[in-house]
């Protein structure tokens, strides 16, 4: 038994089997239990250590060799596996309450396995190819049946595909730098290529246009899953670069570049969200803003920056699940998700509409919600280095808050004679209520998620330690 077999190959095999099953509830149940067991395994099973159960002794090896290359998952990676598979459990467990594509769970499982493989592969340049494969697998998920592929979907494919050559070529240059560390020219070329590669992968301005388009045109819940998995794994992949190369980590310009990119994303995401008339597009811009906040936190460097980055993950995940689930519920009953078409729905779908507003406010970092503690820590740290940066970051967050208020007004502007009722199914109500509770509780007691984000820096040798 080896760790890559458990967390990479088994999910791929199960994904293939689940493609043959027709009942969506059965698929979701099997995948949820499976990913939950993998989360537990990440938590409980030590890697590369003999485990004794009664008379039986076995060992989970950390590495598998394929054609001379290695897939390595160490015991330090367990917290990342818990994050990825734990979040997947929740994404999959919610699907039976919604009308989603049957293949979402099976292909989603394959995407997760390939993304984990991208983080595990050595040499790391192969990760670009694995990420590209997971992008290709996600195409059937994001396509709306009976329509020609949307512009957002095509742009997503184009930008992610363009990232691959940059990452591959930078990998070659980085190998050259390792051999000749004094070559300034090579260092600059590699830095530019890495910059372009990650700008495409993370949808950093000006390569962000696919996110709002995709959010508007594709099924909301599936988009939420993609917008959670890809940026999260890509940022960890990028952090792996920083951890591996001291010249990159210690480059004086790195902090400035990250700060500028992050700030532009926060401002543009927040301000553009404020003027959107489509609920899904607001969500798309909020995701751009959040990715910007993550990059901004990493620009701080050291333990503080890493901790804030990790603290941002759980609130983002909860908000995205809640937001996209609610959008999926509303989408089932409304012709479009334009503000004009969802006017007054607050009285018919009180849970779903409240979830949209609360999730957006949580992402904006409003007090009492899960997003507040990490955002406060970010603003506090940024203020100690530059007040104008905090001012502009707050402008971005205010843009999202303004957008949330516009949405709230639209939901609540129902004719007086409209009766209050709840058209969500009981299962949807329960899931949304649990989501509200989690958003509030993590806002009041952020230390509850601490065990995860204190263990996560262990996956890096130099960063955050």
């Amino acid at each position: 038994m080896s760790a890559p077999l458990l967390w990479i190959f088994l999910p791929i095999i199960l994904a293939g089997i689940l493609l043959l099953v027709r009942n969506q509830k059965v698929i979701a149940l099997i995948a949820s239990i499976f990913t939950f067991l993998l989360t537990l395994a990440g938590w409980l099973l030590p890697i590369d250590t003999a485990i004794k159960i009664g008379t039986l002794t076995f060992n989970i090896a950390s590495s598998v060799d394929i054609l001379g290359r290695h897939l390595i998952l160490n015991s330090t990676d367990s917290s990342l596996l818990i994050l990825i598979f734990g979040s997947a459990t929740i994404w999959f467990a919610v699907t039976p309450t919604l009308i989603t594509a049957r293949r979402m769970v099976s292909l989603g499982l394959a995407i997760i396995a390939l993304l984990v493989a991208a983080l595990a592969v050595e040499p790391f340049l192969y990760a670009a190819l694995l990420i590209e494969m997971s992008v290709l697998i996600s195409m059937p998920l994001l396509e709306v049946p009976s329509r020609r592929p949307s512009n957002g979907l095509l742009r997503f494919l184009i930008f992610q595909t363009l990232a691959m050559p940059f990452i591959l070529f930078s990998g070659w240059l980085l190998a050259g730098i390792e051999a000749n560390p004094g070559e300034i020219g090579l260092v600059q070329q590699a830095a530019i290529l890495i910059g372009f590669g990650f700008s495409f992968l993370l949808a950093i301005f000006p390569f962000h246009s696919w996110i709002p388009l995709l959010a508007e045109e594709s099924p909301p819940y599936t988009v939420g899953f993609i917008l959670w998995m890809f940026p999260t794994v890509t940022i960890f992949f990028g952090l792996g670069f920083l951890d591996h190369y001291a010249w990159l980590r210690d480059a004086p310009a790195l902090g400035i570049i990250l700060k500028t990119a992050g700030l532009i994303m926060v401002i543009s995401g927040g301000l553009l969200a404020a003027f959107q008339n489509h609920l899904s597009r607001v969500m798309g811009y909020a995701v751009i803003m959040e990715t910007g906040a993550s990059i901004l936190s990493l620009s701080l460097g050291g333990n503080a920056g890493m901790n804030i980055f990790l603290m941002l993950l759980i609130p983002r995940f909860l908000s995205l699940v809640l937001w996209t689930m609610s959008l999926a519920i509303l989408r089932e009953h409304s012709s479009t998700l334009l503000l004009n078409d969802v006017r007054g729905l607050g009285r018919l779908y009180p849970y779903a509409t409240s979830a949209v507003v609360l999730a957006s406010l949580a992402l904006a970092g409003l007090p009492l919600f899960a997003g507040f503690p990490p955002h406060l820590a970010l603003w506090d740290r940024l203020a100690s280095t530059s007040l104008p940066v905090v001012f502009w970051a707050l402008i971005g967050n205010l843009g999202l808050i303004f957008s949330s208020i516009r949405i709230l007004i639209a939901f609540s502007s129902a004719p007086d004679e409209t009766r209050w009722e709840s058209r969500e199914s009981p299962a949807q109500r329960i899931v949304l209520a649990i989501g509200f509770l989690a958003l509030f509780l993590l806002g009041l007691f952020p230390q509850w998620a601490q065990s995860l984000w204190t263990r996560l820096p262990g996956i890096f040798t130099h960063l955050g330690n």
């Binding site: 394929i66 190819l129 494969m133 290709l136 329509r147 020609r148 494919l157 595909t161 363009l162 070529f169």
Partner: protein
């Protein structure tokens, strides 16, 4: 003598890449597009075989042609009369003009790239030309089939350049898998809307 033959072969391959990529931009008929893409992969094979063993270069050629077949079958099974577009479309002056700019720009870039990577001018220009033409494709068309052609052209150009610096079998295999994956995605984009309508 052997060097001269290789050089002539490389320049012939470059010319083939130039002609096919330019006509691919101009011609709107899908049958021509598939045929030109197949010829483009032949040019890629000829340019790559100076850096790769012949077996690996052939594998690239075969995977490229398989991608063409996948796209061709998808088009063949779904084509209807309204999809047959005039072969000499509007805006062709603009297309020729932009293609000319790309040829000139990539020539300038290729001079530096060939010196930097230590590869022949024909290889570096051929590679950059395909990348440029692929980007032009993406810039002027939003049709899924054309977008896939553009992405395949970019990857073909990149593979020529990358073959000069990285000779790993696994990378080559995975790149071929990505090419085939893109072709399958393109076929899916072409086939699915019509299947649902039926």
């Amino acid at each position: 003598m052997a060097g001269d033959v290789t050089s002539i072969l490389n320049w012939s391959a470059f010319l083939m890449a130039l002609v096919t990529s330019v006509i691919l931009i101009l011609h709107r008929n899908w049958r021509w597009a598939i045929g030109l893409l197949a010829l483009q992969y032949l040019a890629v094979f000829l340019l790559i075989q100076t850096h790769f063993p012949i077996s690996m270069s052939t594998a690239k050629l075969v995977s490229g042609w398989m991608a063409c077949v996948v796209l061709g079958i998808a088009q063949l099974t779904t084509i209807s009369k309204e999809d047959i577009v005039d072969s000499w479309p509007q805006g062709w002056i603009f297309r020729i003009f932009t293609a000319g700019i790309i040829i000139a720009a990539t020539f300038a870039l290729a001079l530096r790239t060939s010196a930097w990577l230590g590869i022949s001018m024909s290889t570096s220009w051929g590679s950059l030309l395909l990348i440029g033409m692929g980007l032009l494709h993406l810039g002027i068309s939003s049709q899924p089939f054309r977008v896939i052609l553009g992405l395949l052209t970019i990857l073909a150009g990149f593979e020529i350049l990358y073959a000069a610096v990285e000779s790993s079998t696994l990378v080559a295999a995975l790149l071929s898998a990505v090419n085939l994956g893109l072709a399958l995605t393109g076929a899916y984009f072409v086939v699915l809307p019509r299947e649902e309508r039926q």
